[in-house]
């Protein structure tokens, strides 16, 4: 045996055995929390990568409490490949949101600008804060919508975060698909930390 055995009351001398009941209690509690979390009715990830999860970082959709019309993504997976960060954000389109009910009252369709909002929330959740500032949209270089997202559809947003082009600027290129494979939108957006024009 190599390594260290942590135990409650082992009699073997250290360093092979370390008596640490507090650490063991914490480990058991963490295991129980993980077990309960994995058994939730709506887990964050299902059949992730068909079991091939090497090199994958799972990022919960984080709540940074900023103004937003709605929660535009449900789940997020972040990958790093050859020095570039990529993510896939997904959302099931539902009609039971005040903004959706109003767009439109006689026919609900996911507003195209909410795909841009989803990209923003995905970038914020993937990168997080830097010196108290969030990554924000500085310019939209190109944006094209090609198919509608309706209630019941799943939005799948794949994005590549390019390396920073300036001291506080980086480009994100994204493709938004429906779960039936149709391309709903393509986007090329410049982000930077902090809001332009805010002291």
């Amino acid at each position: 045996m190599t390594g260290i055995i942590h135990s409650v009351n082992a009699t073997s001398p250290p360093p092979a055995s370390v008596i640490d009941p507090t650490l063991l209690t914490t480990a058991v509690d963490d295991m129980e929390i993980a077990h309960a979390d994995a058994g939730r009715m709506f887990p964050d990830f299902i059949d992730l990568g068909a079991g091939l999860i090497s090199g994958l970082t799972l990022v919960p959709v984080r709540d940074f409490s900023f103004a937003a019309p709605l929660s535009a993504i449900d789940h997020l997976e972040v990958h790093e490949h050859e020095g570039r960060l990529t993510f896939q954000a997904t959302k099931t389109i539902t009609a039971n949101d005040p903004h959706m009910e109003a767009h439109f009252p006689d026919f609900t369709i996911f507003p195209g600008v909410f795909i841009l909002e989803g990209l923003r929330q995905g970038v914020i959740s993937a990168l997080g804060e830097f010196e108290g500032l969030l990554p924000e949209i500085h310019s939209v270089r190109a944006l094209h919508f090609s198919a509608p997202l309706l209630p019941g559809d799943q939005m799948i947003l794949d994005a590549i975060i390019e390396p920073a082009s300036t001291e506080n600027s980086f480009e994100v290129v994204a493709c938004c698909r429906r779960n039936d494979g149709a391309i709903a939108a393509r986007l090329k957006v410049e982000f930077g930390y902090g809001r332009t024009g805010v002291a």
């Binding site: 103004a67 909002e117 939209v140 309706l150």
Partner: protein, 182 residues
């Protein structure tokens, strides 16, 4: 504040198909059909987009979302199109759908208490495609420059026919005909 209303909130609500939470133009100050429009949107802290922002949050967390800013500008441009005779003034059998945009620069922020002033210009219209550009101001600060926003006119029946598969198959714009992207 601002000039007299050419279209007030009640009149706009009769023109735009949006419900209250997504009707993002409060007043129209001027329209020159086929040329330009000035639309007004007042931001308040009671709007739905602020409901999850805690008290004592930093100011930058209270900035009006860019997504709603663009939607508000787009609705102003829609009002211009609807009032432009050359494009089928108030033709309720057709709707204008936002399909693409280029070169949108966000130069500043708007916060609760600010009033957005959207100045939209109709650049050109080709068949069923409309090209708009413009700017958004808060007082004397320009906070957004819209290089190009493109919309297409589609039969309303096609858009509203949710029950049929036509809406799901609807092709609302060709990437190749508008521009090549990414």
């Amino acid at each position: 504040m601002g000039g007299p209303a050419l279209l007030n909130y009640s009149q706009i609500s009769l023109i735009l198909p949006h419900g209250r939470a997504m009707m993002l133009v409060d007043r129209v100050e001027s329209i020159e059909p086929g040329v330009s429009i000035v639309g007004i949107k007042a931001i308040t802290g009671t709007e739905l987009c602020y409901k999850d922002v805690p008290n004592h949050s930093a100011l930058d967390r209270c900035a009006y979302p860019v997504s709603l800013l663009l939607e508000s500008f787009g609705q102003t441009a829609t009002l211009l199109w609807l009032r432009s005779n050359d494009l089928g003034c108030e033709d309720v059998s057709r709707v204008l759908m936002f399909v693409s945009a280029r070169d949108l620069k966000i130069e500043g922020c708007a916060f609760p208490g600010d009033v957005l002033k959207h100045c939209a210009r109709l650049e050109k219209s080709l068949h069923d495609t409309v090209f708009v550009s413009g700017e958004t101001w808060v007082g004397d600060r320009r906070i957004a420059a819209i290089g190009s926003m493109i919309a297409v006119v589609r039969p309303r029946s096609l858009v509203l026919d949710n029950a049929s598969s036509r809406a799901r198959q609807m092709h609302i714009g060709s990437p190749d005909e508008v521009f090549s992207l990414v």
